[in-house]
């Protein structure tokens, strides 16, 4: 028997007097004092906790459990499994619908807590951690959407990159890099979200649920930060949690069976070259002449004077500079062509092009670009009227052939070190053309179509991005060249306002004025009225 075993619990926690100065001892005493077992696993709740709105917190956590479980399976088995096997696709559906349920319950939970003014009585940090958990969850979901490896993820990433790049975070957060996004999605962001959610739950256990607003004329109502002095009711936290988990799992299962999940195949450079060779060659020619979006993009891809968005005088992307170097002419056209062996006519064409002065190159490119306006696709190739195009027709013919047999895709993805699935270059090239955008338009995914919150087909998408998407539709954002950075700045400001609601006069008193709380605590107020009579 050790010295400790014959002592009671309090004494064990307190430890020996000579150990009081130890960090470990201090932390144990502090934790136990604030969160004793009866607070961590309570079996009583104040009797006013008697509304269905209270179940949405635990429903959110239950949905998160299903999200994590289905997500872990997807991460272990990989994209080939979730795209090409029925059981993988089914788990993909479980993941999608549990995410939809997670946000569904979390938003209702948030509304409920707002109308209770749940930050009262030293509970501001409970509200703050809840709001931050919501925002981190939005970010985590976004990385999930761009990690799907299907058409939806391609389109969302090519569109989403502009906002992130304009805000300067694109340097560290490359949505076109599948490997990096998957790492953010399955490890880094869930870790952050998990820590915040654990703190949030501990804050709820520490402070307890907020009291109802005092009834009119009440004399004995406890202060917001005082312990509840009224009635209590039985509350089996584990039973409630288990029931919620079963309900959420059954709902997820049901939605997955009935609705399945969307999975439009990725668009490849091969598919682009085969289905729209004229657009392919026109875009490749634009890369050489420097007239495409990628060629004039600026940070983080290249240094183009005057490019990039600004917030007033500040250019956020220039803080990090060029961190994902992309030279479209070299990377998308000349370098891949230089890897083709045993083609003397191409070798000669490349030599002619590289040996010509820039004035000559520009002349060929201008002539060829004009001719491509009336080009025709014939037998998989591109035919233009005769003219002075120098070596360009031979070069573009070879690039088209390379894309057609899948070699260009492989060439643009290769040599990326750790992340062998960095699709930055093929996606930038693809997005420079109109082929990808034409498909997106049919699926109502363009920015002007509120595309960021839509899904392919008739599936619900990221409805929680409605406000972010909304700003792009109205002035001054709709016509501004700095729309992305302005919308990001506005959303960051609004998010901070939401986080800081407990300390913002006017905003924090809305719940008391709109009186939705009268419905939430109707049983309590009825009891109080009865007691008065």
């Amino acid at each position: 028997m050790t010295v400790m075993e014959d002592r009671d619990r309090e004494a064990i926690v307190a430890g020996l007097p000579e150990d009081r100065d130890m960090w470990t001892n201090k932390l144990r005493r502090k934790f136990y004092g604030k969160l004793p077992p009866e607070k961590l696993l309570p079996d009583r709740q104040p009797s006013y906790v008697s509304s269905w709105i209270y179940v949405f917190g635990v429903l959110t956590l239950s949905a998160l459990a299903v999200v994590l479980l289905s997500g872990a399976l997807l991460a272990l088995k990989g994209p080939d499994w979730w795209h090409n096997s029925p059981e993988g696709h089914f788990v993909n559906s479980l993941h999608l619908w549990s995410v939809e349920l997670f946000f569904f319950f979390m938003v209702i939970h948030l509304w409920g807590k707002f109308f209770m003014a749940a930050w009262r009585g030293k509970r501001a940090w409970t509200w703050v951690t809840g709001m931050v958990a919501f925002l981190v969850s939005v970010g985590t979901a976004f990385t999930g959407y761009v990690s799907q490896q299907n058409f939806d993820s391609q389109w969302i990433s090519t569109q989403g990159k502009d906002g992130l790049n304009a805000a300067g975070v694109g340097a560290l957060f490359n949505v076109l890099n599948f490997g990096q996004m998957l790492m953010w999605h399955i490890l880094l962001l869930p870790l952050v979200a998990g820590v915040i959610i654990v703190i949030h739950v501990l804050m709820v256990r520490l402070r307890g649920v907020v009291h109802p607003f005092a009834p009119k004329g009440a004399k004995t109502h406890p202060a917001d930060d005082a312990p509840w002095t009224g009635k209590y009711r039985r509350y089996d936290i584990l039973k409630e949690g288990t029931t919620a988990l079963v309900i959420v799992f059954v709902l997820t299962l049901l939605f997955s069976i009935v609705f399945s999940s969307p999975d439009d195949k990725q668009v490849t450079l091969q598919q682009w070259a085969q289905n729209d060779p004229v657009d392919f060659v026109t875009t490749a020619t634009g890369e050489l002449s420097g007239s495409t979006t990628s060629a004039s993009y600026g940070y983080p891809y290249n240094n183009v004077p005057g490019s990039g968005q600004k917030l007033g005088p500040i250019s956020l992307p220039s803080i990090f500079g060029v961190t994902i170097p992309v030279n479209p002419a070299q990377d998308f056209v000349l370098r891949p062509l230089s890897t083709i062996a045993f083609d003397p006519s191409l070798t000669s064409a490349l030599s002619t092009y590289n040996g010509a002065g820039s004035a000559q190159q520009t002349k060929w490119l201008d002539n060829y670009t004009k001719a491509l306006n009336n080009a025709k696709a014939v037998n998989g190739g591109v035919v233009v009227s005769s003219g002075n195009y120098g070596p360009l027709p031979v070069m573009m013919g070879a690039l088209l052939k390379m894309a057609d047999n899948g070699g260009l895709e492989a060439s643009l993805v290769a040599n990326h070190g750790f992340y062998g699935t960095d699709y930055t270059k093929p996606l930038l090239f693809l997005a420079d053309g109109s082929y990808l955008a034409n498909i997106a338009q049919k699926d109502h995914l363009l920015g002007t179509q509120w595309g960021m919150m839509n899904e392919t087909g008739s599936y619900p998408g990221q409805a929680w991005l409605w406000l972010y998407t909304f700003w792009y539709q109205v002035q001054p954002f709709a016509s501004s060249g700095n729309a992305d950075v302005m919308v990001w700045a506005l959303m960051i400001l609004l998010s901070l306002v939401m986080i800081a609601v407990p300390v913002i006069p006017g905003l924090r008193t809305i719940p008391e004025k709109v009186k939705v709380y009268r419905f939430i605590w109707k049983d309590y107020y009825r009891e109080e009225e009865k007691a008065k009579v």
């Binding site: 008697s50 179940v55 029925p86 209702i108 209590y232 399945s260 969307p262 008739s458 409605w466």
Partner: protein
């Protein structure tokens, strides 16, 4: 088992086919898919029901 899943799951999944073209509601600058709109409306309905419906009462105790 694999074969059964391969046959049964797509069959069940096709009970309601959401892979067809989406439908959209357009009002002024607002353009929202019917699916997203339904989710938002459902959220509002569930919230209203959650605050309005009576909660089953359990035995209460003094402080």
């Amino acid at each position: 088992m694999k074969l059964a899943l391969a046959v049964i799951l797509p069959l069940l999944a096709s009970l309601v086919n959401l892979d067809g073209p989406g439908h959209y509601v357009n009002i002024g600058v607002i353009s929202i898919s019917v699916a997203n709109l339904l989710v938002i409306i459902l959220m509002a309905i569930v919230f209203i029901l959650a605050v309005a419906l009576p909660f089953p009462h359990k035995k209460e105790h003094g402080a």
